[in-house]
Subunit: 229 residues, 2 copies
């Protein structure tokens, strides 16, 4: 039995997923926020997620741990791989193998236990970093998979995978979030934030975020570790 | 870059996945065995997996932990839900929400780091327990998902999801395994094995396994906690 007004919201602590939680709350959904500690370099992002969940009225916030650092293969989980500070062609070193598949799979398990009618994820195919698992076709196939994988799907109440930001620019995301009351100062997007959650200002993620605030005409509330040009 | 002769093999410690590893090894593949500790009731299964991996010549055996007990919803992960000892209609209480999706997702991440060309999983749609994520259509859609989710898929070398047992009876699985040298005495299938890995002889999984040995005409090497009729 699914409850259409109950949702699992993947919450990283970054700008996009905070906006997604605000959108789901604005729709009147009972939101169960899920953060995944997968061995990322810093925990500032996860602390930000807890703050954001509370500020936006999530019904609960759960942290699941899965050790992707053990398998490595990404600048975000293997300290021997540097975080790139300049755009490069192709899929960047910050891509974490199968990360969104794993996070959606964990969300699917929890959604099934909760009887949730939907899972929200903040992927974005426009101002993104070139990750394969941020594309609309990936989300569409995961929704098909969810219907086949679960008790709810078999019993005829398939779960929706909602990716409301998927075709928005970063500026559009920020404008929507500001209207919905998201406090972006709480969020951490940087790939290599310091222990206090201060951003490097130089990585791909910082660059997209900074440009987004500029294009949105919204003052950038990001705390930077050093002055950036 | 993928290596067609390298495979990730999901290994639970049970009868089916041991047979799958033997099949993959028989094909000459370099097998990287993956067991997932997801909060199941007993660890005997995971100890069995380590033994089986070594006996069948896996290149390595990795244990990943993910806490599904925290979300509950299954007799295998929540001690308040009893393991059923009689067949019942519908999806049974031992179904773990999204378990195969989560395990395949973790295998996908590792496969991508290893550059493996395939993932093997011991799902079976015949003598199975009625789980939605053991059906051929589930496996087919996961393969589509894997192609969209990963660097390898984008670069044109999509990973195969191999489920060689999917249409076999339990007796056929056992006959194939015996021919390939699987020592089934090492494996633990019981949903509620004791700390020594001895089977209850009464749960759905024990029943399917015992009937399989009988139908295969192979002596049942299972260690039972008590005499069973």
């Amino acid at each position: 039995m699914t409850a259409a007004n109950r949702a699992v919201v993947l919450l990283s602590g970054g700008l996009d997923s905070a906006t997604v939680l605000a959108i789901a709350r604005h729709e009147g959904l009972e939101c169960h926020a899920l953060s995944v500690a997968y061995g990322q370099r810093h925990s500032a992002e996860l602390e930000a997620a807890a703050q954001v969940a509370a500020a936006l009225g999530a019904a609960e916030h759960r942290l699941m741990r899965v050790d992707l650092a053990g398998i490595g293969g990404s600048a975000l989980t293997d300290p021997r791989i540097a975080v790139p500070v300049a755009p490069a062609p192709g899929i960047p070193a910050t891509y974490v193998p199968a990360r969104n598949t794993i996070m959606l799979a964990l969300a699917l398990g929890w959604a099934e236990v909760l009887g949730a009618g939907s899972i929200f994820i903040g992927v974005n195919a426009v101002d993104y970093s070139g990750y394969p698992d941020c594309r609309p076709e990936f989300i569409a196939v995961f929704e098909e998979l969810a219907a086949l994988a679960t008790r709810a799907g078999v019993e005829g109440e398939a779960l929706k995978i909602r990716a409301p930001l998927i075709s928005w620019s970063k500026a559009q995301i920020i404008q929507a979030g500001v209207q919905l009351g998201v406090e972006y100062s709480m969020t951490v997007s940087c790939y290599q934030a310091d222990a206090q959650g201060r951003a490097c200002g130089r990585c791909d993620s910082c660059r997209l975020r900074r440009d987004g605030f500029r294009d949105a005409g919204v003052p950038d509330p990001t705390r930077y570790a050093a002055a950036v040009s």
